[in-house]
């Protein structure tokens, strides 16, 4: 065991994966000599060499495109896209190919790659470094989508994602990279994909979140006397509907917190799942706390955009007293 923050846990996960499986290759912009702009790949080049830890030219579509070819030819590529705002450059490769190779070839070719990319706001960054557009990937059949909110989960989920036979978009909450620390095993272990986690059991209101907002929701709990059951989704696709439904059946009330823009976000799907399977248990409408349907503002105004503790608490209390 060692105390690690989230970025160290990611680094440790990559190290274990590279050491355990000769098929694993890490590639991307500045991942080698520099060790990644957030230091996620620090030390990997030195330990594993330039064939397995590859500094690429500056081209996201190429990074994902060659990863698809590598994966088809038997490797397990783990491309890093420096910020999720630049993953759009690779959309055609990711959506038209990575997500579809298995289906297109009726299983003859597969695409086991893990795209790691930081997302989310609150880091006073330049434009395109702060968005939370995970729903786009959730909406794409064939992709799995994972977002950890803690160091322990980050490492275990990353190793699971690399072992998984499907393309996985692994989004890392940049705001949490250094914000939370906890004990993390130094060796390899897995946290299963597709399983949400009940972070805190409670009886009155279910709060569902993921990534950066999970930590924000956790902080909000200190400001309310409502007995909250807090669920960390961890995997957004495939969605762990069972855990959500079981909780809502128990509490009858639910708040979903997402940093992403409100319209068409994952919270909409979660609410639809609740309508399908737990409608008769509901004692209050399910409330969303979300970002606005606007372009994410530059940093002087970003605190307005990010769902605040105040907004989360208000939603919990509205749900509880409905």
């Amino acid at each position: 065991m060692a105390v690690m923050n989230l970025i160290q846990a990611v680094n440790s996960g990559l190290k274990c994966a590279l050491a355990d499986d000769a098929r694993v290759v890490v590639l991307g912009e500045d991942v080698g000599v520099d060790g990644g702009v957030f230091r996620a790949t620090e030390g990997l080049l030195k330990q594993f060499g330039g064939q397995r830890v590859v500094d690429t030219p500056l081209a996201e579509s190429a990074i994902i495109g060659v990863s698809i070819g590598m994966a088809a030819a038997g490797l397990r590529p783990v491309p890093e896209i420096q910020f999720s705002g630049f993953l759009y450059m690779a959309f055609a490769q990711l959506i038209n190919h990575a997500a579809r190779i298995r289906t297109r070839s009726r299983g003859s070719f597969t695409c086991p790659l893990v795209v790691r990319t930081p997302y989310s706001g609150g880091i006073r960054a330049l434009e395109h470094h702060s968005e939370s557009l995970e729903a786009i990937y959730v909406h794409t059949p064939g992709l799995k989508v994972v977002i950890p909110s803690s160091p322990y989960d980050a490492k275990g989920l990353l190793i699971s994602a690399i072992k998984d036979d499907n393309p996985v978009v692994f989004m890392e909450p940049s705001r949490l990279y250094r914000a939370v620390k906890e004990d993390v095993p130094e060796g390899s272990y897995t946290v299963p994909l597709g399983k949400a986690k009940v972070v805190r059991a409670g009886s009155q209101v279910t709060v569902i979140s993921w990534g950066s907002m999970l930590q924000q929701a956790k902080l909000a709990l200190a400001h309310t006397s409502v007995d909250v059951e807090l669920i960390d989704l961890r995997t957004l696709k495939p969605l762990d509907a069972d855990t959500i439904i079981a909780s809502v059946k128990k509490t009858g009330r639910c708040v979903v917190v997402q940093e992403a823009p409100r319209t068409g976000g994952l919270s909409s799907e979660i609410i639809a799942q609740i309508n399908d399977s737990a409608l008769s248990s509901l004692q209050a409408p399910v409330i969303r706390v979300a970002g606005f349907d606007t372009i994410f503002p530059l940093y002087k105004l970003e605190d307005h955009y990010l769902p605040s503790i105040e907004r989360i608490v208000a939603a919990i209390e509205t749900a509880a007293s409905f």
Binding site: L58, F86, Y88, L126, H128
Partner: protein
């Protein structure tokens, strides 16, 4: 049947001033003494701006900033060659281009201080907003240039890019469209030899970036990017060519980024102090000053006066910047669409009610 050479190509290199400030008279661009001095003053002013931006960032008064230290000749020289109706498409590292293009310094500080209002250009000046996604705005420059042709207006466009950006698909598509449509566009490629930590040798197997243009069927030239007269000369020729409808030009300015990639970067992780020191000796500002002194256009007294003037102008922009009232919440919402959709209006109203109730 035949086997023969169909094409060979050459790449031109241009240097007007050597490192000691001596010039090749045959290569001198047509610039009056007054213009030569103005070029120098702009470089010094821009460098002051850059220094101030870095120091504000260190004090937490500015966000992430990308210094152009060492690239003043490339930016000032190229921007100076443009006409008032030409368009520029800058990156995050091109603040000096924008200063020359009359973007008020206060707005540049606002932009790097996390305020979108900093992207508003002066009235009638087509300074496109800074593009953060690398290599993407070249296509916009080509499109605007195509619009000039289609609407029979006489303007050229300047697309800024780095060596790293030359690897992006979008950028190469921009080169191709420019060639096919003979667009009046100038690609200003500042090859500062690094894309964050990745050296240009790992960016391309080709010896120069200028030769990329050859593959796309138009002219590419490499210039000494630390020689403002070479940059100006190449840019002025490219603008003229654009106006005459003779198509695009790629100008590769071979230069060096003396600072960190941005204020979030630590360049000592990937390059040696000795390498940086060698390039510091090729300082573009110092070189041009030597040239002006050799021509008796400049002296220590003028330097002292310029220093004070530049310092004063930058400080007054900082003063203005710090007095700009923070935009209100509406600013986040009101530019999203030409009209406010009802659900968005509701989000804004609800949020304003919440914060007013505090």
């Amino acid at each position: 049947m035949a086997e023969k050479v169909l094409k060979t190509f050459t790449v031109k290199y241009l240097q007007v001033l050597d490192e000691s400030g001596k010039c090749d008279a045959k290569l001198m661009p047509k610039l009056s003494p007054k213009q030569l001095v103005e070029l120098y003053e702009l470089m010094v002013l821009c460098r002051k701006f850059d220094e101030k931006a870095l120091s504000l960032q260190r004090q937490g008064r500015l966000g992430t900033y990308a210094s152009f230290l060492g690239q003043e000749a490339a930016q000032v020289g190229a921007a100076y060659a443009l006409g008032g109706s030409d368009w520029v498409f800058p990156t995050y590292r091109d603040a000096a281009v924008l200063v020359v293009r009359n973007q008020p310094m206060v707005r540049l500080f606002q932009y790097f201080g996390g305020d979108e209002r900093g992207s508003i250009p002066p009235k009638g000046v087509n300074n496109f907003p800074i593009a953060i996604p690398v290599g993407t705005q070249g296509l916009h420059a080509v499109g605007a240039a195509m619009a000039a042709t289609i609407t029979k207006r006489k303007f050229a466009t300047l697309a800024c890019l780095g060596d790293g950006a030359s690897s992006e698909g979008d950028m190469n598509e921009a080169f191709n469209f420019a060639g096919v449509f003979k667009a009046p566009v100038i690609f200003l490629c500042q090859n500062n030899q690094y894309a964050i930590s990745v050296p240009v040798k790992q960016q391309t197997a080709a010896e120069t970036l200028a030769q990329r243009a050859v593959g796309f069927g138009f002219e590419g030239v490499r210039v000494d990017g630390n020689d403002i007269l070479a940059v100006y000369s190449a840019a002025a020729a490219a603008v003229k060519k654009a106006y005459l409808g003779e198509g695009p030009t790629l100008i590769e300015c071979f230069t060096y980024r003396l600072g960190n990639h941005t204020t979030s970067d630590d360049a000592s992780k990937y390059r040696s102090e000795a390498e940086v020191a060698a390039w510091r000796k090729k300082d573009p500002v110092l070189r041009f000053r030597r040239f002006l002194e050799l021509r008796k256009l400049w002296n220590a007294k003028k330097e002292g006066e310029l220093f004070v003037r530049a310092e004063r102008r930058v400080s007054s922009a900082v003063g203005e910047y710090e007095k700009v009232p923070r935009a209100d919440v509406d600013d986040i919402f009101k530019y999203t669409y030409s009209e406010m959709p009802q659900l968005l209006q509701q989000q804004m109203d609800d949020y304003k009610k919440l914060i007013e109730g505090r």
